[in-house]
């Protein structure tokens, strides 16, 4: 289907509801990052994310025709993703997500020019990771969504199914909690020295 990328999401949803493979693929591709972010913030095991994403794709393929309001696709997809990830988490018997379990996260921050800056940055990223891990689930979800990029505030609110102001307050609190934890750790370090 020519020029499908230029069509808006609403049109894509309408085409996808008729079972068009390319429309479905484009639609999922456009929403891939934030869906992964939702799954990441819910799951405990990073290895299972691809399995859950496949399950989500399968469910979208088989159930998209039941979506009555195409303009609510993003909210529908978010509910679907969260539900499948939660069920997977329950079946595998893991607790809530431990972001540090994800191997890719621990390798973050490795491009500073100065080796000293590099070490400092890696240390900061490690502490951010630890602080994000300690966040309650609803704050962690908004934090991960906001920093995974690609979604506006309005879209994030739609995904989280809350008003924009609520989403902003949650994000502020999540950032505050991360900052406070990092500052506390820094103070402890100074005292230890």
């Amino acid at each position: 289907m020519k020029g499908i990328e230029t069509q808006n999401e609403l049109a894509l949803v309408c085409i996808a509801r008729k079972g068009d493979k390319e429309a479905l693929q484009t639609l999922l591709g456009r929403n891939w990052t934030w869906v992964r972010a939702v799954v990441y913030s819910t799951l405990a095991d990073g290895q299972d994310v691809d399995d859950v994403m496949q399950e989500i794709c399968l469910r979208v393929i088989t159930r998209i025709h039941t979506l009555r309001e195409p303009e609510r696709f993003r909210g529908w997809l978010a509910v679907l993703a969260r539900r499948i990830a939660l069920r997977h988490r329950q079946h595998t018997g893991h607790g809530p997500a431990q972001l540090a379990d994800l191997p890719a996260l621990a390798e973050a921050g490795s491009y500073a020019a100065d080796p000293a800056d590099d070490i400092e940055r890696k240390e900061l990223c490690g502490r951010v990771l630890e602080a994000v891990r300690a966040l309650p689930e609803k704050y962690r979800e908004v934090f991960v969504l906001a920093h995974s990029g690609g979604l506006t505030y309005a879209q994030m609110a739609e995904v989280l199914d809350v008003p924009v102001t609520t989403m902003q307050i949650r994000l502020v609190r999540a950032r505050r909690a991360v900052r406070d934890q990092i500052l506390q750790k820094s103070k402890h370090k100074v005292h230890e020295k």
Binding site: T62, G109, L124, V128, H147
Partner: protein, 195 residues
């Protein structure tokens, strides 16, 4: 933490996320000019924001299969699995499926009990048609004893109406045949003079 702090931090967050409007940016700049603590807070938030973005982006995007690959696998799985597709149309959760199976089993047990133990539905007892009655009525309408054998009237379009008939002799000795309608109405029948 006051509402003003929340508002200020929301503005800072919007600035970092690229969501701030020109009016909000002017407001934030004004606040930052007067508030040293706010400037310090923003300076702390900027590196944290960059680091958080880096950590989350790498965690979310790197190390996993791309969307096309995963989608293709799901598409093939959907095409292969007819049962899977049938399953999607049935109740979604396992609990829902169990409920549906239980409901069907209960229905079957109930149905078999009904036919085996009770013995099936009995046909409704037919009430014998009440024969029409012809009664003789005295001029004073007090005598209601039977006067004539019952008979049926037939109409040209082959419909049999069952009615009660009453014989009546008036003061002049004329005989009348009265049709008694079941609904309780009484109306005189035609007199042919040959009774």
């Amino acid at each position: 933490m006051s509402a003003t702090d929340d508002r200020l931090e929301i503005l800072m967050g919007k600035l970092l996320d690229g969501e701030i409007s020109p009016a909000e940016q002017r407001l934030l700049e004004r606040e930052l000019e007067h508030d040293a603590q706010a400037r310090e807070l923003l300076e702390q938030l900027q590196p944290l924001h960059e680091c958080s973005r880096e950590v989350v982006t790498q965690g979310v995007l790197k190390g996993g299969a791309n969307s096309g690959e995963v989608f293709e696998r799901a598409w093939r799985q959907n095409k292969r699995s007819l049962w899977g597709r049938v399953g999607q149309t049935l109740p979604v959760s396992f609990g829902g499926m169990r409920f549906a199976v239980g409901l069907a089993a209960g229905f079957l047990v109930g149905l078999s009990l009904h036919f085996v133990l009770v013995g099936g539905p009995e046909p409704p007892a037919e009430t014998p048609p009440t024969p029409p009655v012809v009664r003789s009525v005295s001029p004073g309408m007090n005598d209601r004893g039977p006067a004539a054998p019952g008979f049926e009237t037939s109409v040209p379009w082959d419909v049999t109406r069952k009615v009660d008939w009453y014989g009546f002799t008036d003061a002049a000795g004329n005989q009348w045949l009265i049709e008694g309608i079941r609904e309780g109405m009484v109306r005189p029948a035609a007199y042919h003079g040959d009774l």
